[in-house]
């Protein structure tokens, strides 16, 4: 009792232990790094990698067609069906091509906008433009897709406007064109922001140097600004491409009779057929596509600025 109440002893014990611990960390810097990093790394492993591993493992199992129970024996049947089923080629091709079309569209729209924000606008206009870019992200994704449905459908805003100026109706409601438009709209901010960041980083002196050397506007754009902004475009394209690749809600809401994405087939095989393994096998496809895409992006220097 008396010992426990002696303040000096307790304090010196605690300080000693802390000093020894601190000393150990100081002598071995890697230990400090490991101690600091291990919780987030463990969390990352659990949340991201474990889910991906589970996906891969499931892809090699099958389901008993009658009882819907998973059969835990290794087989390549799911991949064989994906390889031979022409439907799945069509769906994968549609998903990748729309994702690519959306990416190109967003890059073309985003570049002048980001250029305006980064190099031409004053501080107040720039703040206003930032708000304009980010404003749609404050509203629900679903609300925005439904809003597009109201614009595009037969009796919608688009056709109403076309009729007002004496043009015929555009029948793009519930088509792949509608999906392309809606995706391009929804993911545009994810392209503008990285392009803006890369454009803003170009020192003004480079452009002045280009002019001093006699280059006109077009030449400066092609030889100085575009190459320096390219990593930003590629970084933005990773967002737009992967977000489109993984989406399955927009195809359901604004797609037509032939608008299935990989995500929709995965959803149906899990929810209609209770066939999680087949869904998992098909879900490996976008992972592989993204892997290839990221490798290509690294070659183009998208990660240099990170």
């Amino acid at each position: 009792m008396a010992a426990g109440l002696d303040p000096t002893q307790g304090l010196s014990n605690g300080v000693g232990a802390r000093r020894r611990f601190g000393g150990a960390l100081w002598r071995r810097p890697w230990l400090k790094g490991a101690a600091l990093l291990s919780p987030p790394v463990l969390g990352f492993l659990l949340i991201y990698v474990a889910a991906l591993v589970a996906l891969f493992v499931y892809a090699f199992w099958t389901v008993d067609p009658f009882t819907s129970l998973t059969i835990h024996s290794w087989t390549l049947d799911n991949f064989r069906e994906l390889w031979h089923g022409s439907t799945y080629h069509t769906v994968a091709f549609r998903t990748v091509s729309i994702a690519a079309a959306v990416t190109v569209t967003d890059a073309i729209i985003a570049f002048p906008f980001a250029y305006l924000m980064a190099r031409l606008a004053g501080p107040r206009t720039r703040a206003l433009l930032f708000i304009l870019v980010l404003l749609p992200l404050w509203a629900s994704y679903l609300a925005r897709v439904y809003a597009w449905r109201l614009i595009l459908n037969s009796d919608g805003l688009l056709n109403w406007s076309l009729h007002k100026v004496g043009l015929p109706s555009a029948g793009i409601a519930y088509t792949n064109t509608a999906m392309w438009i809606v995706f391009s709209y929804i993911w545009l901010p994810f392209m503008i922001l990285p392009v803006y960041a890369s454009l803003e980083r170009i020192p003004h002196s480079y452009i002045e140097a280009s002019r001093d050397l006699g280059a006109k506007g077009g030449r400066t754009l092609r030889s100085v600004i575009l190459p320096l902004a390219l990593p930003g475009v590629v970084a933005g394209s990773i967002f737009t491409f992967s977000l489109t690749l993984g989406d399955y809600i927009t195809p359901v809401l604004v797609g037509g009779a032939s608008s299935q994405f990989i995500g929709n087939v995965v959803y149906d095989s899990v929810n209609q057929a209770s066939n999680l393994p087949f869904g998992a096998a098909f879900a490996v496809v976008p992972v592989v596509v993204m892997g290839i895409y990221l490798l290509a992006a690294r070659k183009l220097g998208a990660f240099d600025a990170l």
Binding site: R149, Q260, A273
Partner: protein, 371 residues
């Protein structure tokens, strides 16, 4: 003193933490139920709990397939009952997830329409695996302004006349609609039952749907999708449920629906009891309660479907005038003869042959059709 106070507090804490345990023993117990949204409304669940002491925990399923998956989750003893539609019930019966029930314990069973006492989607080998609940037809819905003359046959959704303005449900069971049309228009295929299709018949139905695909505006997944398609003139004709028709008419849209001359497919839901339920007593009490005319009428009006208890008609009219006739609750037997209720396609054709296409094949064909 202090010790005794602690002991007292601990007892109180334990008592407070487990009031449910004490209550369960006194009363009927708890039923964990999987149901369609709208099937377990306080309107008829609260009086049930009051009358029997059985409490109900609802889990809403979004699709028949989800319900089957839920019933099988956790080794099949997580849920006590399920409101299974015809495209799920046989899977549950053959999967041994549900148990037979004795209809003689349900007082209102004798008042059920003849078609609903032992329908093939919940009665196998003379055993009743559950009690029929409510039903509805899959009707032909059309816009009265654009579709002239008024259609009388399902041929309207397979003819190029309304190209790009047709909508049908996004559901593999839609293959049965095509099979039903072929059954009545192409006798050489010899289709006897739109859910029991041998490979030739199945391929004929799928190729009819493939020919229909260019005419389709959209395969609708949610009832609200179809409502919006019809409201905005993106579709003028399609396969539907009475619910959409009623909603559109309430919105003053120019639409009508009918059961065409070939007949129609329909859904019939059944309350089934899990094979592993620990509360059979409460389950029977629920089956009896949900079959009474008043509850049948309440649910019919709430959800927009038709009760199986023929005595519900008078109460429906009392709750909402004309609703009995509107939902065909008083229709004669010959009306039901033209409705082919959903049932899970299985390999057993019912005629001794085992070469029929099972539901997995239906689902694959549907995915491939949508492409």
């Amino acid at each position: 003193m202090t010790k005794r106070m602690w002991a007292l507090l601990a007892t109180l804490a334990v008592a407070a933490a487990f009031p449910a345990a004490g209550a369960t023993k006194q009363t009927g117990g708890t039923l964990n139920m999987i149901a369609w949204e709208g099937y377990l409304q306080p309107q008829w669940v609260t009086p049930f709990t009051k009358a029997t002491g059985c409490t109900i925990h609802a889990k809403y399923g979004g699709s028949s397939d989800e319900m089957v998956t839920l019933m099988r989750s956790g080794g099949g003893n997580q849920y006590d009952m399920v409101s299974a539609s015809g495209d799920a019930s046989l899977r549950l019966i053959y999967g041994k997830d549900v148990q037979p029930v004795d209809p003689s314990k349900i007082p209102d069973f004798k008042n059920f329409g003849q078609a609903f006492k032992s329908p093939p989607n919940n009665t196998v080998g003379g055993k009743h695996y559950g009690i029929s609940l409510q039903w509805g037809p899959n009707t032909l819905l059309y816009n009265t302004k654009s579709v002239k003359p008024a259609p009388t046959s399902w041929a309207a959704i397979y003819s190029p006349k309304y190209k790009g303005k047709v909508t049908v449900p996004d559901n593999p069971i839609q293959i049965a609609d095509a099979a039903l049309y072929l059954m009545k228009t192409n006798a050489s295929l010899g289709i006897k039952d739109p859910y029991e299709l041998n490979p030739t018949q199945f391929n004929a139905a799928v190729s009819l749907l493939k020919k229909q695909k260019p005419l389709i505006k959209k395969y609708w997944a949610l009832a609200s999708d179809e409502i919006s398609l019809f409201k905005n003139n993106d579709a003028v004709i399609g396969a539907s449920w009475p619910y959409q028709t009623n909603t559109l008419i309430a919105d003053k849209a120019p639409v009508k629906d009918l059961v065409p001359k070939e007949g129609a497919t329909g859904w019939l839901d059944t309350w089934m009891v899990s094979a592993k339920t620990k509360n059979l007593d409460c389950a029977y009490k629920w089956l009896a309660w949900i079959s009474t005319p008043k509850v049948q009428a309440q649910q019919a009006i709430y959800f927009g479907e038709t009760p199986v208890n023929s005595k519900a008609c008078a109460i429906m009219d009392k709750l909402s005038k004309g609703s009995c006739a509107q939902y065909h609750a008083n229709a004669p037997l010959k009306y039901f003869k033209q409705i082919y209720f959903w049932k899970t396609p299985i390999a057993d054709c019912g005629n001794g042959k085992k070469n029929c296409m099972d539901y997995t094949k239906w689902q694959q064909a549907w995915t491939q059709l949508k492409g």
